[in-house]
């Protein structure tokens, strides 16, 4: 099956071959607008898959909140490690 040749930078991540990964990463749009649109696309895809369904349960939001808690923990680890019971700090 011969697909039309698509430029590397525009392929989705799952369709990029391993050898092309460096090129793919290098050609993505890293300007502020590009980064914002990256987040927006990711959020829209996540929303449409998990939250924006007709009978969406608590799972979609719960995953987001769990991720938020994990990120907060990682971010404040330096600050938190003093809270443990340690013999020598």
């Amino acid at each position: 099956m011969a697909d039309r040749p698509v430029p590397v930078a525009e392929k989705r991540l799952m369709e990029v071959k391993l050898g092309e990964l460096g090129t793919w990463l290098g050609r993505r749009d890293y300007s502020p607008n590009g980064i914002v649109s990256m987040f927006r696309r990711a959020h829209t895809r996540y929303y449409n898959k998990y939250i924006g369904v007709k009978k969406g349960g608590i799972g979609g939001i719960a995953m987001l909140l769990a991720g938020y808690v994990v990120i907060s923990y990682v971010w404040s680890y330096d600050h938190l490690k003093h809270d443990r019971w340690r013999k020598h700090h």
Binding site: T44, K55, Y73, W75, D83, H89
Partner: protein, 227 residues
């Protein structure tokens, strides 16, 4: 390194980037706006219903001039309520515990209401300084008191929000430390754990703090523009 109870309110940084930046962006992530659908799914319907009920409830007493503020107030409300409720999750940071945030929200909005009142009808705006029917002897004192009470409104708004949340978080830390230390003595733990649970529920009246915030803000606008 001395650990004080107030260290939880410092914004921790990772690679020089403070956590408050992520915490401030989080309401954005959780309130997705979908404009391409006619009939929305469960979560969005609940949000639509509650937001429209809130808007109607708040803006009904205001006149047409006050309706211009609807977007501002409702988005402010959603922002604050999301920030506060997310701060109740473990390890998260609540930006509204910082006076810098609450005061920077309170002062410009209050000042805007005052300036609008003076622009539209300065006589009536000044007339608010003296309630009707005061005995003549009390007039000078009352004018001073009313002026002070108006001037102190932004500080009161800011500190009310900040102090409520800070106190709640501090209490949770204190009580949970107590529970943790008393695990060796079982009955105390059970009672204290119950108290902690009750306190967390009480803290979800942080949500009511938002209600208080917008209501007071609104009441100022109401008084200055329409009464």
């Amino acid at each position: 390194m001395t650990m004080t109870l107030f260290d939880q309110f410092l914004s921790p940084t990772l690679f020089k980037m403070p956590l408050i930046a992520i915490a401030l962006v989080s309401p954005w992530l959780l309130h997705h706006v979908v404009t391409t659908r006619f009939s929305s799914e469960r979560l969005l319907s609940v949000k639509k219903v509650s937001v429209s009920a809130l808007t109607k409830h708040i803006f009904q007493p205001l006149g047409p001039l006050g309706h211009k503020w609807a977007l501002m107030f409702v988005s402010l409300f959603m922002f604050l309520i999301t920030l506060n409720v997310l701060g109740l999750l473990p390890y998260t940071f609540t930006p509204t515990t910082q006076l810098s945030l609450t005061f920077s929200l309170a002062l410009p909005l209050w000042l805007a209401t005052v300036l609008i009142g003076f622009r539209l009808d300065p006589t009536r705006a000044l007339a608010h300084m003296l309630p009707q029917g005061t005995p003549p002897l009390l007039i000078p004192v009352l004018i001073i008191i009313e002026t002070i009470s108006v001037m102190i409104r932004p500080l009161a708004l800011a500190v009310r929000l900040m102090a409520n949340l800070t106190a709640g978080h501090l209490l949770i830390h204190l009580i949970s430390t107590g529970v943790f230390l008393l695990t060796s003595m079982m009955p105390m733990t059970a009672i204290l754990a119950l108290a902690l649970l009750g306190l967390l529920t009480l803290l979800e009246i942080a949500v009511a703090v938002i209600q208080a915030y917008v209501f007071v803000l609104l009441l100022s606008l109401y008084l200055l523009e329409n009464v």
